[in-house]
């Protein structure tokens, strides 16, 4: 597919939210193109969007690239690390031949919550993946963050998308893996290799694909029975960031971080229901409820 395309410049636009790894994706792609003998220009906007703001990166490669930025409507491949960011840049995609690769992960910005009525939907992009995928020439909408989380680290979602991107571009798989291994820190090389393979295998299943897993919060629920009080300890897994405060501060040392770096109640028998973990949790992920028992348990 690349043969006739490569007489002209290929335009890849990578968009996402600060901290997701947009720059890493574009760096891998640019290095790969350079190693393959193309002329490459890459330009990006980052900095003030260090955490939570929009980030985008243009990668152009071909026999000779003149301008570092891509004109509107000229993007061959749009890689979106966040769903709404992908929609924001969708009009830059070539209408008839563009490929859209997106993570369905939603990062809701604060200004989307102006309607404060209880239960009100945030003003986030209402378009569903099904609607969007009908509009584009070729589309891949995947739960890259979920896939990466299943592999052990949700932060590898950008590498999952790189895996999907690798099926659209005509570079050998080994070259991708080699560049990724040289770009990421040595300690995360293994998970990035697995994430790349996962994304690539998924995208091999054909274009116009949607794979969205249902959302919702998972609460690890534990009940501890004391002579006069029942303690209910709930840990919201999606909110826990594994900061270790509850584990280290618990007077009974009954909590621990599991292999996914989420807090869990390891020794329920030792929990006294003192609530210190809930009070000190910066992520509001732990709730401890003490319910007095009317009749003492036998």
């Amino acid at each position: 597919m690349m043969g006739e395309k490569m007489n002209r410049t290929m335009n890849v636009l990578i968009v996402g939210v600060g901290g997701q790894g947009v720059i890493m994706v574009s760096k891998v792609l640019a290095q790969l193109c350079q190693a393959d003998g193309h002329d490459v220009k890459q330009s990006e906007v980052h900095g003030m969007a260090k955490r939570g703001g929009g980030v985008f990166s243009h990668v152009r490669f071909g026999p000779k690239v003149w301008s570092p930025t891509i004109p509107e409507g000229e993007v061959d491949i749009l890689v979106a690390l966040e769903w709404a960011e992908g929609l924001r840049w969708l009009k830059h995609l070539k209408p008839d031949t563009g490929t859209f690769i997106a993570d369905c992960q939603k990062i809701v910005p604060p200004f989307a919550c102006r309607n404060r009525k209880r239960g009100a939907e945030p003003a986030y992009a209402p378009q569903t993946p099904e609607e969007i995928i009908e509009q584009v020439h070729a589309g891949y909408v995947m739960d890259a963050t979920g896939m990466a989380a299943n592999l052990g680290n949700a932060r590898a979602s950008n590498t999952v998308l790189l895996g999907a991107l690798s099926t659209v571009l005509d570079f050998p798989e080994e070259a991708w893996i080699e560049i990724i291994a040289s770009t990421v820190p040595a300690k995360s090389a293994e998970i990035n290799r697995a994430a790349f393979a996962e994304g690539r295998a998924w995208a091999m299943g054909g274009d116009k694909r949607i794979d969205v897993t249902a959302g919702g919060l998972h609460k690890a629920h534990s009940e501890i029975h004391h002579p006069q009080v029942d303690t209910i300890l709930e840990i919201t897994e999606e909110w826990c960031k594994g900061c270790d405060i509850c584990v280290k501060m618990c007077p009974e040392r009954c909590l621990r971080l599991n292999d996914r770096l989420k807090a869990e109640l390891a020794l329920p028998d030792l929990c006294t229901g003192c609530q210190l973990c809930a009070w000190l949790c910066p992520d509001q992920a732990i709730s401890v409820t003490n319910i007095p028992v009317t009749e003492p348990a036998e």
Binding site: G52, C243, D244, L280, P282
Partner: protein
């Protein structure tokens, strides 16, 4: 201090915008604990959400207002106190709480802080002091301690840090307090007193920036940073009773200064009523 059953009745989720969670803060950031203490204090003071306005500036602390389920206002850098002053003068029926950071409040907003304290308008100002500009990449802030490394002081900071509580008290704030995030209940009660005080209340919360400040200065993870800060604190109530030979670097915590100066809003409204010819001594 409240007993356990009453503490249990508080549900933080009733004050948090669920769709916004998990929040954007780094793992172990003390601002999250301060957020809980603030909404807990608001809950205990019986503040109606519709009669509450939370104003915040720019920075890691500035983003906290987005997570509180009340009337919230994310303003420009250094100016949350200015916006809050206008808000409180126009709507004296609202409880106005300002969330600001050390850079926001003392560097670009330093002037606004001293004049807000001078006017003594009934605003509660919560300054989350993490000793660094966390959001923009870890630059030195006015409260960074001497000798600490930041991205703009690669050889160590040579400037002395600011004592924000002394500044606010000298400028005339009606209520000045300081607490560490480790003491959640103490922090909650201190913020509660600040909200109840009629006049400008300034509370400095000693928060921890684990990911940037802690890592750069090799202070350990968030539990170690919290415990270190706790070991340095010295409740102000004991200032004359305990000699602290083993704690030379103690931090004064608790209520630090209190005065019953007249609140500014009343004088302003009397003047406005006089101009409208509705009485007063105009």
């Amino acid at each position: 201090m409240k007993d356990t059953t009453e503490a249990t009745a508080f549900d933080v989720n009733s004050w948090i915008r669920q769709e916004q969670m998990p929040h954007f803060l780094c793992p172990g950031c003390g601002h999250g604990i301060a957020l809980r203490a603030l909404v807990w204090a608001l809950h205990e003071q019986g503040i109606d959400k519709d009669k509450l306005a939370v104003v915040s500036g720019i920075g890691c602390s500035g983003r906290l207002s987005a997570y509180i389920d009340a009337n919230t206002f994310h303003t420009t850098h250094g100016r949350p106190l200015t916006f809050a002053t206008g808000l409180k003068l126009a709507r004296p029926d609202l409880s106005v709480v300002v969330i600001t950071g050390d850079g926001d409040c003392l560097a670009i907003g330093g002037n606004h802080l001293i004049h807000a304290a001078r006017r003594n308008l009934d605003i509660t100002c919560l300054m989350l002091n993490n000793e660094i500009y966390g959001m923009t990449g870890g630059q030195v802030s006015p409260t960074t301690a001497e000798g600490r490394y930041t991205s703009t002081t690669p050889q160590g900071n040579t400037e002395p840090g600011f004592d924000a509580c002394a500044l606010a008290a000298a400028a005339g704030a009606g209520f000045v307090g300081r607490e560490v995030t480790m003491q959640v209940l103490g922090l909650r009660d201190l913020i509660g007193q600040a909200i109840a005080h009629k006049g400008f209340s300034f509370v400095e919360v000693l928060s921890d920036c684990t990911e940037i400040y802690g890592r750069k200065n090799d202070l350990g993870a968030s539990p170690e940073m919290m415990l270190a800060k706790k070991s340095e604190m010295r409740p102000f109530a004991y200032r004359n009773t305990v000699d602290v030979p083993f704690r030379p670097n103690h931090l004064r915590t608790g209520v630090i200064a209190r005065s019953e100066r007249p609140e500014y809003g009343a004088a302003y409204r009397a003047m406005a009523a006089g101009l409208r010819g509705e009485g007063g001594d105009a």
